[in-house]
Symmetry: C2
Subunit: 125 residues, 2 copies
DNA sequence: CCGCATCCGAGAGGATACTG
DNA sequence: CAGTATCCTCTCGGATGCGG
């Protein structure tokens, strides 16, 4: 809470802050991208692996998100010319650089969620 | 990039991470809320003040966002029974606790935006 | 001054069937 | 296996007019 500016006009810090957050959220401020990045922080994954690990996402949406993230330079798509086909997704350095943001958001969320229920760890492996 | 888990199953860190980020983004992961919080970090503001300071937002959307944020406990609405009416919006402690998140997102955004153009500071005051 | 009511278009995200 | 192709719903956000 800085009151360095006592007038009602907007200051540069605010405008730049807007800019930054708006840009950041344009890349990851939606339903699935943070989850995808979170998964890929443990290393590259194949398409079906991602799909199975992300509960509730549809195929269409997963592909759309992956394509957008590839265009934004957050992930890299690795295609192996094999039969059956094999595609892996991997974070770029830019994507990796988002880890601190996700950590902060995750920590705040866990701290302030209504009732912190422990997530069941049991997952089909 | 932690590879503490070499199997393909999901681990607890990931699930909790999802949870936290999804919850956090459900509160501020949209077009205007980060900007509104950013404004209020400098202190409480009146409705019209907010409207003028946030370029491009419509009245309807501003009110909707403010109501949602009030319901989520991020801001407090202060009504002064005067004529003409006077309403001020102020961050709650919960809303204030989001400052670090916005700072991190803003910093990352400014660092990685295509061309960092200086924002013109000239604003009608 | 501070909204609320109404209408509207765009697009995000979902379900499902099909293909190289 | 790794996607396309359709179709559909629902919410977000915008424009505008009115009311206490």
């Amino acid at each position: 809470m800085k009151k360095e500016n006592s007038t009602n006009s907007i200051n540069a810090r605010q405008l730049k802050g807007d800019c930054g957050t708006v840009f950041t959220l344009s890349l990851i401020g939606n339903r699935w991208k943070p989850v995808i990045i979170w998964r890929l922080l443990d290393g590259k994954m194949r398409y079906t692996e991602l799909k199975k690990s992300i509960n509730g996402i549809s195929e269409r949406v997963l592909v759309l998100q992956l394509r957008e993230m590839e265009n934004d330079g957050l992930i890299q798509r690795l295609i192996y010319p094999e039969v059956p086909p094999r595609v892996e997704y991997e974070l770029t350095p830019l994507g990796l650089s988002m880890e601190p943001i996700l950590e902060v958001m995750s920590a705040w969320g866990l701290d302030h969620m209504p009732q912190e229920q422990e997530v069941p760890i049991k997952v089909a492996g």
